[in-house]
């Protein structure tokens, strides 16, 4: 195993960092937006133009033939600069299409999605329901071909700006993937009422496609959270050096510097796990264990780093004018995206008896 970036990867990192700095939220005095990010068309087209959506896909479908490692590198830089977009959502949709769609659907949909000319996002969440890869309350009239969907998905981030949705829906006891254009969208709510839809590939492949698509989404948000931690820690360290109380910098209090050291440990554990997931998903995009472990490590590290970053700043960390709270807010949203820490622990626990020990080199 080798975690060093090659020259191309370093160049990608620099390019995304530069892009992100141009689209980062402006320094503001007075009120700033809080909560879920609104779609930023400029940032979005810059991301698409740089080919960041295309990174993990093959050239046959308009991809860049790079890999999930590059996705991790790019998403980390976006997270560091607080450029919150539909990146993970669109990648997930692309993954669902790439791993689940027919050849014809792949050829028809992916090139436009990957170059940014059309935005497709996935719709998983159902109101009143916990996170699940399976659909329950949105149902499809049939498993294959032209069908209709009925039910509600919510919240579906970026549904209001998407051209199409990839929707999980129930058919009998199974969950299939469906492409929809004409749903009734208001904000993050998507309603289907005998709405025409097209089955994505065959329902026999849907479970595996969902796993691979979501794995891609998990990698992107985990890397974004890593970036957020990677920015929140240096801000905290800098603050400890400059903020004075009792006539000395806060850094003179060992109880605080030791906690900064613990934050660093959490950050680096998250970094190793995210980069490993990037490599492992490039080798096996269906690997649910790798994705769940990454989500758990990032979830726990993120919670630790996010909460401590605010605490060590004191009151100033609570303000919207200051970036540290926004990083914590974004890390929190990521925790609740694609299954939280407990959801992934429960998933991993189902196989606890199946392996005597953990072996990352196996």
């Amino acid at each position: 195993m080798d975690f060093t970036f090659d020259d191309e990867q370093k160049a990608l990192q620099d390019a995304v960092r530069e892009l992100a700095s141009r689209h980062a939220p402006a320094e503001a005095h007075g009120d700033v937006p809080v909560g879920p990010a609104q779609h930023d068309p400029k940032a979005w087209s810059a991301i698409a133009e740089m080919g960041l959506l295309a990174l993990p896909f093959g050239e046959d479908v308009g991809g860049a033939d790079a890999s999930t490692v590059e996705v991790a590198i790019a998403a980390t830089e976006l997270g560091k600069a607080r450029v919150v977009t539909a990146y993970a959502d669109a990648l997930t949709a692309a993954g669902l299409i790439a791993f689940g769609g027919s050849d014809e659907q792949r050829a028809k949909l992916l090139p436009d999605l990957l170059d940014g000319s059309s935005l497709i996002v996935p719709a998983f969440a159902e109101p009143g329901r916990a996170w699940s890869l399976d659909a329950y309350d949105v149902t499809a009239s049939a498993a294959d071909g032209d069908v209709t969907l009925t039910g509600t998905k919510e919240p579906v981030p970026f549904a209001d700006v998407a051209d199409k949705l990839v929707v999980t829906a129930r058919v009998g006891e199974r969950t299939g993937l469906f492409l929809v254009e004409g749903a009734t969208v208001s904000g993050m709510r998507v309603r289907f009422d005998d709405t025409p839809a097209v089955a994505l590939g065959s329902i026999d492949d849907a479970a595996r496609a969902i796993q691979a698509g979501v794995n891609l989404g998990i990698l992107a948000v985990a890397a974004e959270a890593l970036g957020a931690m990677d920015a929140a820690l240096p801000m905290t360290v800098e603050y400890l050096k400059t903020r004075k109380q009792f006539g000395v910098p806060l850094a003179a209090f060992q109880t605080l510097t030791q906690r900064a050291a613990d934050m660093y440990v959490s950050l680096e554990l998250a970094r190793s796990t995210v980069l490993h997931a990037g490599m492992a998903l490039a080798a096996d995009p269906y690997d649910a264990t790798v994705a769940s472990r990454a989500k758990v490590v990032v979830g726990q590290s993120g919670r630790h780093v996010g909460q401590e970053a605010i605490q060590l700043h004191g009151g100033i960390g609570m303000t919207a004018e200051y970036a540290v709270g926004h990083f914590t807010a974004r890390i929190t949203a990521i925790e609740h995206t694609f299954g939280d820490t407990r959801w992934h622990l429960a998933a991993l626990a189902r196989d606890v008896a199946g392996h005597p020990q953990v072996d990352v080199l196996a």
């Binding site: 009143g128 916990a130 109380q245 006539g247 109880t255 929190t332 925790e335």
Partner: protein, 393 residues
Amino acid sequence: MRLQMSDEDAAFQQRMRDFFTTEIPAELRERWAAGGELEPDDMRAAQRLLNAAGLAVPHWPVEWGGQDWTQLQRHLYLQEIQAASVPPPLAFNANMVGPVIATFGSQEQKERFLPATANLDIWWCQGFSEPNAGSDLASLRTSAVLDGDEWVVNGQKTWTTLGQHADWIFALVRTEPDAPKKQMGISFLVFDVKSPGVSVRPIQLIDGGHEVNEVFFDNVRVPADQLIGERGKGWTIAKFLLGNERVGVAPVASIKRALATAKEHASATRSGAGTLLDEPLIAARFVELETQLSALELTVLRVAANSHGDKPEPASSILKLRGSQLQQDVLEFTADIAGPASLQWSQPDDTDLEAWTALATPTYLNFRKASIYGGSNEVQRSIIASGILGLKG
């Protein structure tokens, strides 16, 4: 040691419960429980109902509306008022400036301020912290200079909670700039925030709300008789006030109620063929938090029974430290239960999501403040280390 409450105390508890659940409008309590913001008029209405029944300031001296209860009764009162989701009396009035004026004020000041304070006819805000005086409160720089029979106040306070609604401010100001120690030379001054020279600027917090403010003083003239206690002895008053503040911030019953509400939400959130409450990790977290909360409540009862008079015990730091942690843990867990729905912070008309899910993340983020204000958790640990364990840092 005795396991059960006496019949008398049980009857007291029932009396409190009956009052809070029948005399305070349910609509007000429901809005407070849902975490929605209350208008200042709602807060006034609630406090006035309590005050009329002698239940707004029971810990004050009897002659100013207090009740001469035992510590256990005080605890039962807090338990029931929180359990019924009654909007509590404004802390700045009931727990901070009221006890200060009752203890350190002149007879004239008591008469002037205490009844109006108990009845929320004056809405007070706390002007302690400054940009460069947070944990190190004694380094505060806002100055007051005597000019004839008026103090002239200049400087800045910050983090002033609900300052936008306040009528009056109680502020720590430096009156003796040449005192040998920074703790000396501080005085406790109260004045009308509508006085010429006072300006208030809101600060937006990470949840989007505006509960705190910066307050600026530019040659604000304050009558000399509005200094509470002895000139230059404000630090003693500040320590007294902060100790009281800490006792008030272990809202065990509120946390219990929040956890019970979270449990209702979990059992109403479907997961697979069952609900979230059927998920082993969710169920385990509930019982873990319930167990931790019961340990805190038992400690509150044990500490309350042992403390005498008005003097706060160093052990009250345990309550602030652990209380804020558990409050934060419960809110974090509530956001986890909201899960994907927590990504939406607003409540548009056309949503199928439950209203509480939109508040889950902002509330979780907002309550990161609980381990920062009222003496941060680091400060509480220092008090325990030096005050109880004899470990001078």
